[in-house]
């Protein structure tokens, strides 16, 4: 019996999204499962954004903190370092200092930082709140206005706070990140609510919530695979925005990225273990469908870029 290649073709495709205005990034656009370019179009490689913060990364583990020693004291220096020295294709600014338990920075302060960072870089910017739903509602509105017409990716809009954030993203010409908690139905529902406000579904991306290797990765992995299959096989347009993996913040708080080898000799070198943890988490979620990855360690990012080179 002769072999006939069992190719798959799908009715749907992932929306192609562009961010930035000077140097831009383009992601999504594929009409097949991740990296299945042998049977369809995979026009764009996934984008990795370097994560920076508006406050020094004091609570990051040593392995990743030291990669930004001397530059992470302020967001502008940090952003320029990522762009100019590490050749970042995009930068993700997390406004963690706005969290009530941190510096409780005001919307005006956040807006000022966003403006300064934008003035210092020409790669696209992802603007993230502190993941405090209530505070983010005001912070992200101010940030969206401060970045007007810069075509940023802004988020995360969640069920509890999406209305003001969606309105601000729309009024100021940004792309939107919609996040829900590890459930394909919640994710679909939020996308529908957002589009019902008049937001163009081709200008958004889905964050189905990330998790780290060994700490629930299989949930994110399967939700992403199911969302992608709904987009392609069922041609469900509410599931066709590209997907985001917010990798670094989940990876760099688990024990495997912090416990010294002297405590756990069977776990091997802490430095490489931490980098591998971020690398493998990102690699797995990319295979499940993530098109944009927010990461921290430069070595992990380099490894994933090499992996993409081989896959494309």
């Amino acid at each position: 019996m002769a072999f006939v290649a069992p190719k798959e073709t799908y009715a749907g495709k992932v929306f192609e999204v562009v961010a930035g205005i000077d140097k831009t990034i383009v992601f999504g656009g594929e009409d097949v499962l991740p990296f299945n370019s042998f049977e369809g179009k995979v026009p764009n490689r996934p984008v990795i954004a370097y994560e920076i913060q508006d406050i020094p990364p004091d609570d990051w583990p040593e392995v990743v903190k030291k990669a930004y020693e001397g530059v992470s004291g302020d967001a502008v220096t940090w952003a320029k370092y990522c762009q100019d020295k590490l050749n970042a294709r995009a930068i993700a600014l997390r406004l963690l200092g706005t969290h009530p338990d941190r510096l409780n920075r005001s919307p005006e302060e956040a807006a000022k930082i966003v403006k300064e960072v934008l003035a210092a870089i020409n790669v696209p910017l992802i603007i993230l709140g502190s993941n405090h739903a209530e505070k983010d509602a005001s912070i992200l509105v101010a940030a969206a206005e401060a970045a007007k017409d810069k075509n940023c990716l802004i988020g995360k809009a969640q069920e509890a706070n999406y209305k003001t954030i969606v309105a601000a993203a729309m009024a100021n010409n940004h792309k939107l990140i919609a996040m829900s908690e590890l459930d394909i139905n919640l994710s679909k529902q939020l996308n529908i609510l957002i589009t019902q406000m008049g937001f163009d579904k081709e200008r958004m991306m889905t964050d189905p919530m990330c998790s780290a290797l060994g700490y629930g990765l299989e949930y994110t992995y399967s939700v992403m695979e199911r969302i992608r299959l709904a987009a392609l096989a069922q041609n469900d347009t509410t599931m066709q925005p590209p997907m985001l993996g917010d990798i670094g913040m989940y990876v760099w708080k688990v024990k495997e990225t912090q416990a010294p080898e002297s405590d756990l000799p069977l776990w091997g070198s802490l430095e490489e273990r931490g980098i591998a943890w971020e690398t493998v988490t990102a690699g797995a979620l990319m295979l499940a469908g993530a098109e944009v990855l927010i990461m921290r360690h430069p070595e992990a990012i380099k490894a994933v870029e090499k992996f993409i080179d081989e896959l494309m």
Partner: protein
């Protein structure tokens, strides 16, 4: 495709002789359809029925065992493309390559590293499963000696013998004996002699070809030579080729029931850059490889790959659970706080992670709630006041700590009174609703 009980019944002798241990042929047919018995139990079945049933009842990917004894690895038997459809069945084997051209010291230390690679993670023992010995010297005598040395150093570890020289294969297989090695290296030019070597020594045979068409033709030829335990190497080496070939093979087997490719896949991940090799191996874990060959096994790399394999191969229908016990976080003293939560693995990971972040030493009592999270377990009656009281009393924790205060999740604050009623002498404190409130909560108490 699988046959129904009635379709199978039509092929049986219909004598109701009971020799198979079942009252009627129909009852036996039903068990066969459910894959609970083997057709071998019927002594009178016709050759024709054996052929039809054998083909129909075989899983789309043939089960193959690598090695023998405790450390034998089962491969194949997969039935789906996506883990959310159904559990992936047999976790892929991770193998280290040892070249016979390496120095004796290097060969010994690599064999030892494999033998000592086992670690425990969430109750499972995980290890580098196999060694691939490659005949890169091209010298048959050297190959045989190195296989001997490795067998002595790591006697329980399953072996893959990689050579394209049938004489070298024959000699090395004799060393391994009946331990079910995989002989790897049959191709279009040496297939007859390699198949004979594998058959004489009851080994499985790994086959390579330039493309999937040639590979399926070769698999059929090998099967015709009397070898059923086949492992496929589609020749893919770059990530892009691996993605294409592994997808095609799995789809052909599972969706098209294409028997010539219904075998486990061996994949070669070796790279100069160990971090990149880790990612290529991760691709193999996620996308359908049954054996992944690597050039190095640093402990950090093993831990990451073992964990990914565990994540990908868990049953999506069964919540992952952690063991019921009282976990120590940091180095708690008899005065340190005691918290309680349920044993859903995600709940445990999140709560213990946040408790660790607080840097306040404490104890975390994790109660068996059949893998449900706090609110779900409470609603399902698995995390109730009387069960919590019983667990705390039975745990013996009263002998370890000086205080009598239990911190419960804020989501089940409603239970605090009834737990106090049932757990005499204890004070119940309501903790934060979300785990991310724990660091602030614990720090405030510690000051």
């Amino acid at each position: 495709m699988a046959l129904s009980g009635v379709q199978i019944f039509k092929l049986l002798p219909k004598t109701n002789c009971k020799k198979c241990g079942h009252p009627t042929c129909l009852a036996f047919a039903m068990k066969l359809a459910a894959r609970q018995v083997s057709l071998d139990a019927c002594p009178d079945v016709s050759e024709e029925a054996k052929r039809v049933l054998g083909e129909a009842s075989a899983p789309p990917i043939r089960p193959i065992t690598l090695g023998a004894g405790d450390k034998a690895v089962k491969m194949g038997e997969e039935t789906v493309l996506f883990r959310h459809d159904k559990k992936f069945v047999n976790p892929c084997a991770l193998a280290l390559e040892i070249k016979d051209s390496m120095t004796d010291d290097e060969i010994n230390s690599r064999a030892e590293a494999v033998a000592n690679s086992e670690i425990d993670r969430v109750g499972q023992k995980l290890r580098i499963d196999a060694i691939l010995v490659s005949n890169s010297s091209g010298d048959a005598g050297k190959f045989e000696n190195v296989v001997k040395a490795i067998s002595a150093k790591a006697p329980a570890v399953p072996l893959i013998l990689s050579t394209t020289n049938p004489q070298a294969a024959e000699a090395a297989l004799k060393v391994v004996g009946d331990k079910k090695a995989l002989l790897f290296g049959a191709n279009e030019s040496n297939v007859d002699a390699m198949a004979a070597a594998a058959k004489n020594n009851k080994a499985s045979l790994g086959i390579s070809a330039k493309d999937l068409d040639a590979l399926s033709a070769l698999a059929e030829k090998v099967k015709g030579l009397g070898i059923e335990d086949i492992v496929l190497d589609p020749g893919a080496r770059t990530a892009k080729e691996i993605m294409e070939n592994n997808n095609y093979i799995r789809r052909a087997a599972v969706k098209k029931n294409f028997k010539a490719l219904g075998y486990p896949i061996i994949m070669f991940a070796q790279r100069d850059d160990s971090m990149l090799e880790t990612l290529i191996a991760a691709l193999g874990i996620a996308k359908y490889a049954s054996i992944i060959v690597m050039s190095s096994i640093e402990r950090w790399k093993n831990l990451a790959l073992f964990t990914l394999r565990q994540n990908i191969y868990t049953d999506p229908q069964v919540p992952m659970q952690v063991e019921q016990k009282i976990y120590k976080i940091g180095e708690p003293t008899p005065e340190s706080p005691l918290l309680i939560t349920t044993n859903f693995s995600l709940t445990y990971f999140i709560v213990s992670g946040e408790a660790e972040n607080s840097k306040v030493p404490c104890r975390l009592a994790v109660m068996d709630s059949e893998g449900l999270s706090v609110l779900t377990a409470w609603a399902a009656g698995k995390f109730t006041a009387s069960k919590i009281a019983q667990f705390i009393k039975d745990s013996g924790i009263e002998n370890e700590i000086k205080h009598r205060e239990l911190i419960i999740p804020g989501a089940v604050a409603i239970m605090s009174g009834s737990i106090e009623d049932k757990l005499g002498g204890w004070k119940i404190t309501v903790g934060p609703r979300e785990a991310n409130g724990l660091p602030a909560f614990l720090k405030a108490r510690a000051n």
